[in-house]
Each structure stands twice: as C-alpha cells, then as structure tokens.
Homo-oligomer: 205 residues x 2
C-alpha cells in the first residue's frame, strides 16, 4: 500500500521521501529552536535517520536551512563568494549586480518574497530568518571587512540591501522595480563600498 | 444611560465618541478602498457625520490616515518640513537625525513598528500603507528634488530609509540598534544626499 510504503518501515534510506522527511523535520526544528539552537543531530533524530545522512544530502546546517526556505540560492554563500573574489574596495557594484541577477532570474519569486516579508514579520519563522541573517549573512561580511568596526559596517550594508530588496521586490516602488539591474548596481555600489571601506564618522559625531 | 449616550441619537456632535467613530469608519474605509480610493466624504457618510466635521477634527485625508495608524508623527509632513527648511544639497543628515529623534523618543514604539511590518506585509492594511508611502512620502521627496529623475531619487532615498528603520527598530540588528542617532545621521547623511543631488549613472551603465 502506498501509505505503508511512505511509512518508516517501507522507506528506503536514499529515497526522495527521506529527503522530504528530513526537510520537514528541519523546518519544525528551526521553528522550535531557532537558527542558532537547531542542530543537524536534532534534525536527524526528529526525522529518524542518521546525522551522516542529513549531512550527505544537505552538507551543512546553513544549506539545510536554505533548503527549508525553498529559495534557489544561499545568500550567505553568495556574499562569501563575492567578497572573496572581488577587489577590496570595490565589492559594492558586484554584490548588487550578483544579487539582482539571481533575484531577477528567479521565475518563481514567491519563496524569496516570503523570506523578505519574514525579515520584518512576527513569529518563530521570522525569528529564525533574522538569526540566520545576523549570524550567517551579516557575519560573512563582518569576517571579511578589513577596517575598524566590521560589525557596524556589515549592518550598514545590510540596511541598504534589505531596503533595496523590499523596495524592488515586495513594495515594488517605481521606478525601483523596473530600473535596469546594471544601473542599480552602479548607483548602489558606491554606497556599499563607502559603508564597507570608507571612513566612518567617530562616535559622538 | 451610558450605552444610550454612546448611540447615534444620544451623541453630541463634538464628543470624543464622535472622533472615535470617525476613526473607526476611516480605518474601515482605508482598508476597503485603499489610501487612494478612500475619501473624506466616504468616511463621513460611513460615520454618519458631516464631512466638515471630519475636516474639523483631522484636517486632511493624510492626517486622518495617520490618526488611524496611531503613530505620533506624520512622516510625510516631517519629510516636507525637513526638505523645505534645509539647505539644498544637505538634507541627508538632518532627515536622518529628525527621523531617529522622533522614533527614539517614542515610548510606545509598537504602532510605529506595526506600520513598518506592514510595509513588507500582506493584506489590505499593508496595501494601504504602501500606497500612502508611495503617494504621500515618496511624492513629498520627488516634488522637492531639483535634479533630473526626481522619482528615482525619491525611491533610492526610500530604500535606504526603509532598510535603516527595519534594521534598527524591527530586526534590531546590532550595533545598528544601539548606535548613537547623531552618528547614524552623519553616516547615512551623505548617502541620502548623493541619492538626492548627486549625479546618477546613465541608463545602460
């Protein structure tokens, strides 16, 4: 029977059903414990599989979380890639053009928009997304910026990126929503570079 | 009897109950028809009062809408005030410091945070807030910026302001949430001024 074949006993360890069950268990774990609190081991236990199988399918906790969001790209990995490849002092234009390239090319934008909504939203999923942004994406910037106050610089960049994405894809403010991505990269690039590498006015300014 | 006194027949036209009924009618009208579609006349009819009384209490549709949000300040009026008073070319620092001054001084920030959440949210209230932002706040900028493409400049400014407010007051990203407002005004000011008055790269850049 089909329902029996989907049950624990009839399941093959490598079947798509197993991946799906791991993802469902992961969604529950992230919602219950947050991004920081959830573990590969806990997800594996909840799905009734070996932790090695979770790692085999999803690689890392970060990638497992991205998979639960159903978004086509890992934004933290994208940030690390751009910052590791770009010339120091000139990450802004490349960051924005890479980011808009992915978003504009995504035919089904609703999972991405759902993640953006949850940045400002309420509830356990929203809290988990914010922890991921803070401890994975913002951290990826902060670890790679050479100047003083890397954490402040990282959140300044985050504030412009969040505003751009919300404005273009959620609120769809015109002409922000329809402007050519290369032009937006040229406009926003210097802002990002100033936050990343420029001199910041001292405290008590 | 108190309950009779609150009814339509027992009500004095100038009582606080009347204001409250107008506000409730306005909330329903804005949710049903959006910011653009709602009218003072329609609100008055729904509340069973003369339109002149609505104007007497609330002044304009914009102010009536602000009253339904229960926020302590009209952001569109604040923007007009800053842009009309400041030196052209130097609005950024003053805009950010005025804005953070109001938000930081607001003891009960939950209505403001609720409005911010709805910028990225779903449903009729969110749609109405977005119409207000686009046709009242963004328009206030666009009408006052002297250079070419004022509408694009206005939404660029909007994207940085939204990201700053969401990051500081909703997500509470650190150290964005705890940094001195004067310092943030000095950091974000040049960004706003570049968007408002700087040269923008041409289309097809």
């Amino acid at each position: 029977m089909w329902t029996v074949a989907r049950g624990r006993k009839g399941r093959r360890p490598g079947s798509p059903d197993t991946q799906d069950e791991i993802l469902q268990a992961a969604s529950r774990e992230f919602a219950a414990k947050g991004y920081d609190g959830a573990t590969i081991r806990g997800v594996a236990a909840a799905a009734g599989v070996d932790p090695a199988l979770v790692l085999h399918y999803f690689g890392t906790k970060e990638q497992l979380f991205i998979a639960t969001l159903h978004v086509p790209v890992n934004p933290a990995a994208m940030v690390r890639g751009v910052l590791d490849d770009a010339q120091p002092g000139e990450i802004g234009e490349r960051l924005i053009s890479t980011m808009l390239g992915v978003w504009d090319a995504t035919a089904h934008r609703s999972p991405l928009v759902a993640v953006l909504r949850s940045v400002a939203g309420e509830g356990p999923v929203a809290d988990t997304v914010r922890q991921f942004i803070e401890h994975s994406i913002i951290a990826a910037f902060a670890q790679r910026l050479p100047g003083p106050e890397p954490q402040l610089r990282a959140v300044l960049i985050g504030s412009q990126v969040i505003g751009l994405l919300v404005g273009r894809y959620v609120v769809r403010l015109e002409p922000l929503a329809s402007t050519d991505p290369a032009r937006l990269a040229a406009i926003y690039g210097p802002t990002i570079d100033r936050y990343a590498y420029g001199s910041l006015p001292p405290d008590g300014a």
